[in-house]
């Protein structure tokens, strides 16, 4: 039976078994490839998306368990209309290989939504589930602080 999903403001009808993780629905069925496969066991955070604004590992949410509106990196902003957090990523030249950054940005966006001025310790706490093998952490931290400041000024 097809499942209806709300993704980035649009409704998608998906014909896949109930237990297929949201990650693979997004990537292989809906064609939203910005959300990445890294480990499949919630150990790297590359697949982070929002469900009703909350950051979740999409590799661990079965299609039938998706409980709300899904936002992916593509729904956060586009190259021509970036969200403040994405602009901060560009400003600080954060990405190296860039593969983990969709997940990093989605995690950071949810942190800032809950806590508009996180301390370094709070950034450590919120971001430690997101792995980056290139080691871009110092610039991720700087970009989060800078986005926080911009969003407060706005």
């Amino acid at each position: 039976m097809p499942t209806d999903l709300r993704i980035n403001g649009k409704t998608h009808q998906v014909n896949l078994p109930d237990d297929v993780p949201l990650l693979w629905v997004l990537r292989d069925e809906v064609g939203l490839t910005g959300t990445k496969f890294g480990c499949g066991v919630a150990a790297c955070g590359a697949c982070t998306v929002h469900i009703d604004g909350e950051a979740v590992r999409s590799c661990q949410v079965a299609l039938s368990d998706v409980w709300g509106e899904v936002t992916t990196i593509e729904g956060l902003g586009t190259p021509d209309a970036m969200a403040a957090i994405q602009q901060a990523w560009v400003e600080h030249q954060v990405a190296q290989c860039g593969y983990c950054q969709s997940g990093q940005i989605m995690q950071a966006a949810s942190l800032l939504a809950e806590n508009p001025a996180p301390s370094d310790a709070e950034i450590d706490e919120a971001m430690q589930g997101n792995l980056c093998r290139c080691g871009t952490y110092p610039r991720i931290r700087a970009a989060i602080h800078s986005a926080a400041q911009k969003m407060q000024e706005a």
Partner: protein
């Protein structure tokens, strides 16, 4: 591949005769230009293989693997600097696989000289030998060589295109080229006349390329300054396309499963259960592996687990202990190399105190964030392949070989890479996809490896051991005699790439040990090649990744025995041997406010490694909080000769260090019955936001040649941390990973 074998044999016999042979060979064949692979349409001009201009746009070709090191941006900036365009005016693409894109620097690195002391003769010899890469289809990204390779050639490509455009404008206006100038993609003529390059493309296309002098550094507008990376907006918005993001109409999704007993065969498999699972369409035999084809990658991965396979045994010892014994046994065999033998290490200098220590490091996986994958479409005669790879021509040749078709029938499209670190210099993931596509003619298929498949089928950084003996006197080192035992990488790699095994010493086995800029009067390094068949490969900084740890841990032990400050001890030994090495040490001394003394609960360590032409010094500070050790701060100084993009170099330096720290703290692959025992990040963790230290980086330009950036940040990380742990706890770290022996914050 017969011609590769012949050429490779001649170039890789690393005796002096072979080098001369390579150079002579090079001089004869290499001077012929490689054909321009760009096929301009009507009204387009391909000025050379690196610059293409049409009526609409300017395209620069950066035919190197973009795996995070920023090569597309800096490579394009080299061309743009002379072409007089800004980076936001151009499109930068990787381009096709082609001989014209060979790496002219990589092979030059095989000369077993120390490097930092290169005479002009050795330097030219390296350049000449590098050009033999053209004959071996070495369109390869590796060895931290892209900027050495492109530094002059790409500026020349830009300058030539600029002068040709000026000539086209001069012809149109009926004035001399010398009256024209160029700026931001336009030719400027007297009387405020401006003609866009795109407007001149059709006319310039008919002209012979013009050669031009390179501008002096003082005239640079882009190089030497931070450039916004061309791939950054895509990577911040999820729109950058990696190999795994390739989507084609009608494409199927497949999962790979290969024998976990590495190198073992497959005796058969039963896929009946898998074929009943949802979404599964077929299970395809790939020789020593199989692929499950489905309408979704996850369904394919699930079904692959349900296939019952009869795997043959691995040709490697059954236990980890036996593997370690085999490495240790290499110490008793004749050395594979003695690439440094200064003075006389046989006798202890009079009045000197002897120091000795043994070290051991494990096998390591690359663990790129993007699991291995490739996409292929076979139409019955031609193969199209999309893969993130570090060697497009070798990939093309290997896929053609596997399918029994001509290399010309294979088109390789190289995508962005979610990390490479050396792993994507291998061809296996592309060849598996090609073999799968051959069995599904007309249907495009993406073959993805699960994380477990990726981690358990790596070409691992080899495990290694060292026996170090030294002597100190009057506060300095007077003797260093090191033996390194590990599998030799070069024969395995050359065998996979070219189907031949070179004779002669393996430089990579002792890289980072024999070539360190320390003026120790009696200094010998011997490499011992272990007889083992564990699949090994190039891993960010290769031999220097373990020799940096051995050398710099032992230098610290010698300093301690000599009663000297470890930083001053290294400074004294480098100052007379090679000044740039001393300068990076002085830089971290100043940056960190090094006093040689640390309060209780704080430890500091220093290390300096010279690799890929670049000396890098690091100071790491650790603190103990609540019984756990945390990395608080790191200071890094590196001398690149010419700093083409300081902001990107800073990222490469702290990123390289982070990769080294991840391995030093947590990285370890062990084997049971020839199968890797770690399969995913929970067993093979890496440094994370809360365990990464703050960093401060300084880039110096003291040495005379431009040098590598992607790898040299890695080797000093492990010893700098190990030495800091000694300062904090009084306990020496002689094996890695450190999590076994120290209470690190995890």
């Amino acid at each position: 591949m017969a011609s590769f074998k012949k050429i490779a044999r001649r170039s890789f016999l690393i005796g002096s005769a072979a080098i001369v042979g390579g150079v002579a060979f090079g001089a004869y064949y290499v001077s012929r230009p490689a054909p321009n692979p760009l096929k301009p349409a009507d009204g387009e001009a391909a000025f050379n293989p690196f610059v293409m201009i049409s009526h609409e746009k300017i395209t620069l070709i950066a035919p190197r693997a973009e795996m995070g090191q920023g090569v597309h941006t800096t490579w394009a900036a080299l061309i743009a600097e002379e072409l007089d365009v800004t980076l936001d005016q151009v499109e930068v693409i990787h381009g096709p696989a082609a001989t014209a894109y060979y790496n002219s620097a990589l092979l030059g690195e095989v000369i077993p000289s120390k490097g930092y002391d290169k005479s002009r003769f050795i330097h030219s010899l390296g350049e000449a030998l590098g050009h033999a890469g053209k004959l071996m289809d070495m369109q390869v990204t590796g060895g931290s060589s892209s900027m050495k390779d492109g530094y002059e050639r790409m500026r020349a490509a830009g300058a030539s295109a600029r002068e040709t455009l000026k000539l086209a404008a001069a012809n149109r206006l009926g004035i001399a080229s010398s009256q024209l100038s160029t700026k931001e993609g336009k030719v400027i003529a007297p009387g405020n006349i401006e003609i866009a390059y795109t407007d001149l493309a059709a006319e310039a296309a008919g002209l012979e390329p013009v050669e031009a002098q390179l501008r002096h550094r003082s005239e640079w507008k882009l190089l030497g300054k931070a450039q916004p990376r061309v791939d950054m907006p895509g990577k911040a918005t999820g729109t950058a396309k990696f190999g795994i993001d390739m989507r084609l109409p009608g494409m199927k999704f497949a999962a790979l499963k290969a024998n976990p007993h590495l190198g073992g065969s497959i005796n058969g498999f039963d896929a009946s259960e898998a074929l009943q699972m949802p979404g599964v369409e077929q299970v395809v035999d790939l020789g020593n592996a199989f692929a499950v084809v489905a309408n979704n990658t996850w369904l394919a991965i699930q079904a692959a687990e349900a296939v019952a396979a009869d795997w043959g045994p691995a040709p490697i010892p059954d236990t980890q202990a036996e593997i370690q014994d085999a490495i240790r046994a290499a110490f008793d065999a004749e050395p594979n190399s003695t690439l440094r033998d200064d003075g006389d290490v046989s006798a202890l200098p009079q009045g000197a105190q002897e120091v000795s220590a043994e070290y051991e490091v494990p096998f390591l996986a690359h663990a790129t964030m993007e699991p291995l994958n490739a996409t292929a479409l076979y139409d019955g005669s031609k193969l199209q392949l999309w893969s993130g790879n570090q060697g497009p021509l070798l990939t093309r040749n290997h896929c053609a070989d596997a399918l029994g078709i001509d290399p010309e029938q294979v088109q390789v499209n190289t995508s962005l890479m979610g990390g490479g670190f050396g792993r994507r210099g291998e061809m296996d993931f592309s060849v598996y996809a090609a073999k799968l596509a051959r069995q599904m003619p007309g249907t495009p298929v993406q073959l993805t490896w699960s994380r477990e498949e990726d981690m358990t089928h790596d070409f691992y950084r080899p495990g290694a051991m060292a026996r170090m003996r030294g002597a100190v006197k009057d506060g300095s080192a007077v003797l260093l005699d090191g033996q390194i035992a590990s599998q030799a990488l070069t024969p395995q790699l050359m065998s996979r790439w070219f189907g031949m095994t070179p004779a002669g010493p393996d430089t990579t086995l002792v890289d980072g040990a024999f070539n360190q800029p320390y003026g120790i009067p009696n200094y010998r390094i011997r490499g011992h090649a272990a007889d083992l068949q564990v699949p090994i490969g190039a891993w960010r900084s290769v031999g220097a990744s373990f020799n940096g740890f051995f050398m710099e841990s032992f230098m610290d032990e010698m300093a301690h025995a000599a009663g000297a400050d470890p930083l001053e001890f290294r400074l004294a030994l480098t100052r007379q041997e090679w000044a740039p090495a001393a300068k990076v040490l002085e830089a971290v001394k100043e940056m960190s406010g090094w006093t040689g003394k640390t309060p209780d609960g704080v430890g500091r360590g220093v290390a300096m490694t010279y690799s890929f032409g670049t000396p890098v010094a690091q100071v790491i500070e650790v603190t103990e909080e609540g019984g756990l050790i945390r990395l608080r701060k790191a200071w890094i100084a590196a001398d690149l000769g010419v700093a083409l993009d300081p902001q990107n170099l800073e990222a490469q330096m702290f990123g390289g260090m982070a990769y080294g720290l991840s391995a030093a703290m947590f990285g370890e692959i062990t084997f049971a019955e020839g199968a890797a025992e770690q399969g995913n990040f929970p067993d093979y963790d890496a440094i994370r936001m809360h365990t990464m230290p703050e960093v401060e980086v300084r880039i110096l330009e003291e040495q005379s040649h431009i040098s590598g950036a992607g790898e040299p940040g890695t080797p000093p990380a492990a010893p700098a941390l190990a030495n800091a742990l000694f300062d904090l706890t009084g306990k020496r770290a002689r094996r890695l990973p450190l999590m076994h022996d120290f209470d690190l914050l995890i």
